[in-house]
Subunit: 153 residues, 3 copies
């Protein structure tokens, strides 16, 4: 029978991952990922092998204050392979406001993750999603950005 | 006191239901629904009695690759009526891109569901939601669909 | 080790809070808030000390049928300070359709809450969020509101 404390720990791991991503907290992100973590975002369009390469990608593409991201994932379906290995399906909804290009991306998709427990702590060892859809809108004059946490004051 | 394993099983049932719906996986959908399942979607606007009729509706209206749907439900409030009967409230957010009409529907509402456990497995025996709002937008030239999982390659 | 029944009770409290808010059910909202509850919405832009003042704010600003709101919060990270005190982080996505101004607000942010258990029941004693972003769109002719639960029939 599923250990519900371990299940909650894995859910919190994924929650912290998204909080790290959308608040650009790369130190917290680093804690969420196993050293050998493999990422296959957007059907493999963005592929990285190893935590350092994933973090480097985030630091380069996601860090600028002109990139405002929302990644929220729902509907977890988590299964334990063993006491220290688990898999997870999540249903992503994401939005990326790119103030350089003046675009808004909106999309959704399903994550297929793997998790590993080491030294009493769960980390993500594999993460990737396949989109159901994605659309990109040119931001027009009728739309005003009224708050951006990352903008220089 | 609530059996938390049963609670998790019901949440996963609902999660699988939405994964089936938005990935057009009608075999998985069939597993989620009790044979006598009653559906009262959108305040009864879409009403079906029995799993076969619900599946037929999905197959007819939701299956075309020109219908891209997102249904995500949050904030579960699940109560057990007995060991094998439960009720659930969920807060829906949905979006339907209709490429035939060139429209995007967006809306939200509250589900009131019933669940039944048979042969050790939970299924949905009643599902329906009442909207808080719905809006429909004509998709314009500034919006480009950049990915559709269901489109012919 | 976390008491998972208490954890579930706190999640349900927050779920009921949002159901109360977006269905304009101020009696249910009152049950969710401790008498001394402090609110610091939107980085303190909307600040209220005490349940009565919070409820008065909702009654004045959120109650009109021309205000259609969606507040959904995800990714709970809840920690127990003691048997009857807990903290919670949640990731908000919100949308406000204002039919007076003919605008749609969309945004996101992170809640930092506190909860207290009294007479066997959890309530919110502190709630507030800091936005990641907010944007406001002028609703144009290509967008039609097709359902509003709160509109006079």
């Amino acid at each position: 029978m599923t250990d519900l404390h371990e299940l909650e720990a894995i859910k919190r791991l994924k929650h912290a991952y998204f909080r790290a991503l959308d608040s650009k907290n790369w130190a917290l992100m680093r804690e969420c990922l196993a050293e050998e973590c493999i990422a296959r975002y957007d059907g493999g369009k963005y592929s990285f092998d190893g935590r350092d390469k994933i973090i480097a990608f985030f630091g380069q593409y996601m860090d600028p204050p002109t990139m405002i991201t929302l990644h929220q994932a729902h509907h977890p379906e988590i299964d334990f392979v063993s006491a220290d290995k688990a898999t997870g399906i999540w249903y992503l909804q994401d939005m990326v406001i790119n103030l350089q290009n003046n675009t808004t991306l909106r999309g959704a998709g399903f994550y297929h993750d793997e998790y590993v427990k080491r030294d009493g702590r769960w980390q993500i060892s594999l993460t990737g999603y396949e989109r159901t859809f994605e659309e990109i809108e040119q931001r027009g004059d009728t739309l005003k950005l009224t708050h951006n946490r990352f903008a220089k004051k």
